[in-house]
Amino acid sequence: MRLWTPLSLAAVATIAFVSVPASATGAITCKSGPVSGWKSQKALTDKLTKDGWTLRKSKVDGGCYEVYGTTPEGDRVEAYFHPVTLEKLYVSRRGEVLFRKTGY
């Protein structure tokens, strides 16, 4: 039993410690204001599809629109767009940033 006490304490302390900062997985964040001022997600996906992207998935992440898909150049990427301007902010594939707008 005297073995279990320090062990379980250490375990619980560690779990508490690592659980706290478990958030913010996004590569970048956008200061995009209230959602009411955003263009719709569909407006973005329609535009990208028209531009030659193949999209697998899109969602909101860190106040930006985040899409997973293939660029017109044929790269399989994860990309971030500003929800108000729909401007391209960040494009990466695993382990490599392909594009990052200055300031982001």
């Binding site: 790269d75 695993r94 490599e96």
Partner: protein, 195 residues
Amino acid sequence: MLRNILNKKPTFWALLCLPAAVMMRPYFFGDVIAMDMLHPTGEWSARFMIAAMLLSPLLALIGPRPWLSWLIQRRRALGVAAFGYASLHLIFYIIDMGNLDDMIAEFLALGIWTGWAAMLLFVPLAVTSNDASMRALRAGWKRLQRLVYPTAVLVLVHWIFIHNNLGPALLHFIPLVLLIAARYFFANRTIFKGA
């Protein structure tokens, strides 16, 4: 009667398949795509691997217990389950990526090649997880199965770097590291006392 059923090996296999059944459901109904299956399959693979690895240090620390012996008798099944979920993980990765060029393009990312390497090391572990291999390899079997330690390190690095996030990976691995450390710490103390 119930006890008998619970103690049957097929019951344990069914139990190990349960998370797969739960996670595959939305995929077959088209509610999620292959990309969404990467996280749950990988996480369960790591969980089963860690579960299998916890048993030896636990036994060394707390001594034989009925429930622990029950699990140790089923340790190979836990390892094979880890391999099974890792295989699902790889299959969904291939479906998600869709072509070889994109997989090659990101192969050298730290979060990617470690996953491939872990999968590669999993293969000999899984194919020798049977009585015939144990008999054939004798003492070599245990040495071969120790490949699970470098595999675990690869899995940990894969997990951290694919997510850009320490939390969930450490949450799973810290109990294992603590137990392994405790095993060596207390084992050394016992030797000191005996000497």
